[in-house]
């Protein structure tokens, strides 16, 4: 009797799943697998929309999975292994760490599945050690993003401007942060040599920490001309500190990411600029380039998706064609 009731449960489960599966397409030949870090974050949500648009435009089928959080490295590996069972022709993956998906990517390579590194999460040295060859890396060019911030600053203050500049980095040692900071510093030297970087300090991606660094620096350098932060969260922290010190008009503050809080602050005229990443464009171009690669066309090993300097003027003018990708 107890057995029978369990069978009933199994039958009920089956029925529920059968209902749930209506409308789920069976895998087709030539399908792309897309594996993201998570969808619980507007950045990845915008990228997923870009993937969808790219797939519709290119006329290809894809199936998308994401881990429950951007820290679930083992669950993401499990998802990746399972996705391979559907035998996709390409795996577009945004790995949570530079190593967590390696066993799965190796298996994908053995099965002749094309591998794409979405959003530049894989490390070329690690890949070489493992003998894994990715078809291409794609993502925002973080060095260029830093350089764009420097160009904006030189343009706003004039190339003969003089004064101290503070750089607030992310977690010390983080590669994304390093690229943004070095891109900014290198370009600033050429574009406005009079602007001197007096410190490049780790703010650990933390708004509060960035605010106190900005505050301390203002005490030591009351004539501070500008602050460049490696992300928007820290830039917004710096904005608070600068306005609290009554120097909102004196200090130019620039962030990176283009998230909605930053855009709001730019509209209010507090944050001066943010170099926006365009995840929608990254997703769209990833799919387009996979299609090219599968068709035998040559695709660059590393694809840099443009970033966009968002200021109050560009937002009000609304003419930049990239603005529509700002989510």
């Amino acid at each position: 009797m107890s057995k029978r009731s369990k069978w009933r449960v199994a039958a009920a489960l089956g029925a529920a799943l059968a209902v749930a599966s209506v409308g789920i397409a069976k895998a087709d030949d030539g399908e792309y697998g897309v594996l993201m870090k998570t969808l619980a974050n507007p950045f990845w949500g915008a990228m997923a929309e870009g993937v969808k648009a790219g797939a519709e435009k290119a006329g290809v089928k894809y199936f998308l999975q994401a881990a429950e959080s951007d820290q679930a490295s083992e669950p993401q590996l499990n998802l990746c292994n399972t996705m391979l069972q559907r035998k996709p022709v390409a795996m577009i993956t945004a790995a949570i760490s530079s190593t967590n998906l390696l066993p799965c990517l190796k298996a994908a390579q053995d099965a002749k599945i094309k591998i794409v590194d979405l959003d530049n999460n894989l490390d070329q040295t690690v890949l070489d050690n493992e003998g894994i060859k990715v078809t291409f890396h794609i993502g925002s060019d973080n060095i260029a993003a830093g350089a764009q911030a420097a160009d904006y600053l030189a343009q706003k203050l004039g190339k003969d401007a003089k004064g101290p500049v503070l750089v607030i980095e992310g977690l010390s040692g983080n590669i994304t942060s390093q690229k943004r900071a070095s891109g900014f510093a290198d370009r600033l030297k050429e574009a406005a040599p009079g602007l001197e970087i007096i410190g490049s300090l780790p703010g650990d991606w933390d708004r509060g920490k960035a605010a106190s660094i900005a505050n301390d620096t203002l005490t030591a350098h009351p004539d501070l001309a500008a602050i460049f932060c490696a992300n928007d969260g820290m830039a917004l922290g710096a904005v608070e500190a600068v306005y609290a010190a009554g120097k909102g008009d004196q200090v130019t503050i620039i962030g990176v990411d283009g998230n909605s809080d930053a855009v709001k602050s730019i509209k209010q005229g507090r944050l001066n600029a943010s170099v926006a990443q365009l995840p929608y464009l990254v997703g769209e171009q990833a799919v387009e380039n996979v299609k090219k690669a599968l068709a035998g066309e040559t695709v660059p090993e590393s694809i840099a998706v443009p970033t966009l300097v968002v200021t109050k003027d560009t937002l009000e003018a609304g003419t930049d064609p990239l603005l529509k990708y700002l989510k």
Binding site: W7, V9, A10, E68, Q71, T82, S97
Partner: protein, 330 residues
């Protein structure tokens, strides 16, 4: 089946214990097979050797953790810290192997010892300081996670020696190493819980602490061993995680404790102690594994998978309660 078990057969106690433990297994096995049959029908990719191994591989870390949860729950305790402890153990192992550059067997040992130490602290606090297990292990959940972040500076530790990576990624005879470790651990744990005095004492303790004490079981001492064992198994899970992703990740095992407890309960373990079966737990973990795998193969988004597992948990306990009530009426 219940009726068979209670008939006065000339069986030894061990044989009866065997059947009783199998009883739980058969119950949930039916659900597992039913679920697998459904998945086979719904997805052409489900039923293949490589996918079945893939399910076992995906279940291995959480399965080891679920074994840990089964012992503690069976003994009437609760350990919410196992997910954090596995994160801590993995980081300790990686630090020993990478930063100290000690040989890999020491790193493996360090994982297990770090887990056992955290578990032992839980046990000491529960039995000597009389702080409720929920509070102690909730505190340890924060302590272990925080310590893992502190000693790793919040960053994953890469570059494990290849022998350690083999534990997570090697495939002797085509079978993934974590699966081998998981199966061996499960069989050992099953024998300990089902056939030894230690196992009987564990369940007696979970059934009624007072009765267990009256029967001469050293209750506090036994609890400390259980919590230490729980921590050591969490350490083993941490080792598997670390070796699989080739990094000592301080965020490893976030929320895994709840998944592990879910697996144990789906497998028939009583949340309040006294009844537990390792094989039942393994089947509980596999039910979740099959569900996740099948839904992923059908390209169902992972958020729906979490809903499905939540529903199965409630359903499993509902069926369980329903049967208990029916049996008590007979």
């Amino acid at each position: 089946m219940i009726a068979d078990g209670t008939q006065s057969n000339p069986w030894t106690r061990a044989q009866r214990a065997c059947v009783e433990s199998l009883h739980i297994r058969l119950e949930s096995l039916v659900v597992l097979i039913g679920l697998a049959a459904v998945m086979t029908v719904l997805s052409p990719y489900f039923l293949s050797l490589s996918n079945l191994l893939n399910i076992l591989l995906a279940t291995s870390t959480i399965g080891v953790l679920a074994i840990s949860a089964t012992f503690v729950l069976g003994a009437g305790g609760l350990d919410l810290s196992i997910g954090s402890v596995m994160g801590l153990a993995g980081v300790v192992g990686a630090l020993v192997a990478v930063n100290l550059n000690w040989p890999w067997p020491l790193a493996v040992l360090a994982c297990l010892l770090a887990g056992a130490a955290a578990g032992n602290i839980n046990g000491q606090l529960v039995t000597r300081a009389f702080v409720p297990a929920f509070i102690v292990t909730l505190g340890m959940l924060g302590l272990a996670r925080g310590l893992a972040l502190v000693i790793s500076n919040g960053r994953a530790i890469y570059g494990l020696p290849s022998a350690m990576v083999y534990i997570g990624q090697g495939r002797p005879f085509g079978i993934p190493m974590p699966v081998i470790i998981f199966v061996v651990t499960a069989l050992l744990a099953h024998c300990v819980l089902a056939y030894t005095r230690f196992g009987r004492h564990t369940l007696a303790l979970g059934d009624s602490e007072g009765a267990a004490r009256a029967a001469g079981i050293r209750v506090a001492h036994h609890s400390r061993i259980i919590y230490t064992l729980s921590g050591a198994l969490a350490g083993l899970a941490g080792l598997l995680f670390t070796a699989r992703v080739n990094a000592g990740d301080p965020t490893a095992g976030l929320n895994y404790e709840l998944t592990a407890i879910t697996a144990a309960i789906i497998g028939g373990t009583n949340l309040f102690g006294g009844r537990a079966s390792i094989l039942g737990t393994i089947i509980g973990a596999l039910i979740m594994g099959v569900l996740q795998n099948g839904l992923t193969l059908m390209a169902v988004q992972s958020y729906y998978q979490q809903m499905a597992i939540g529903a199965v948990l409630i359903l499993a306990v509902f069926i369980d309660q329903y049967q208990v009530r029916r049996e008590s009426r007979v």
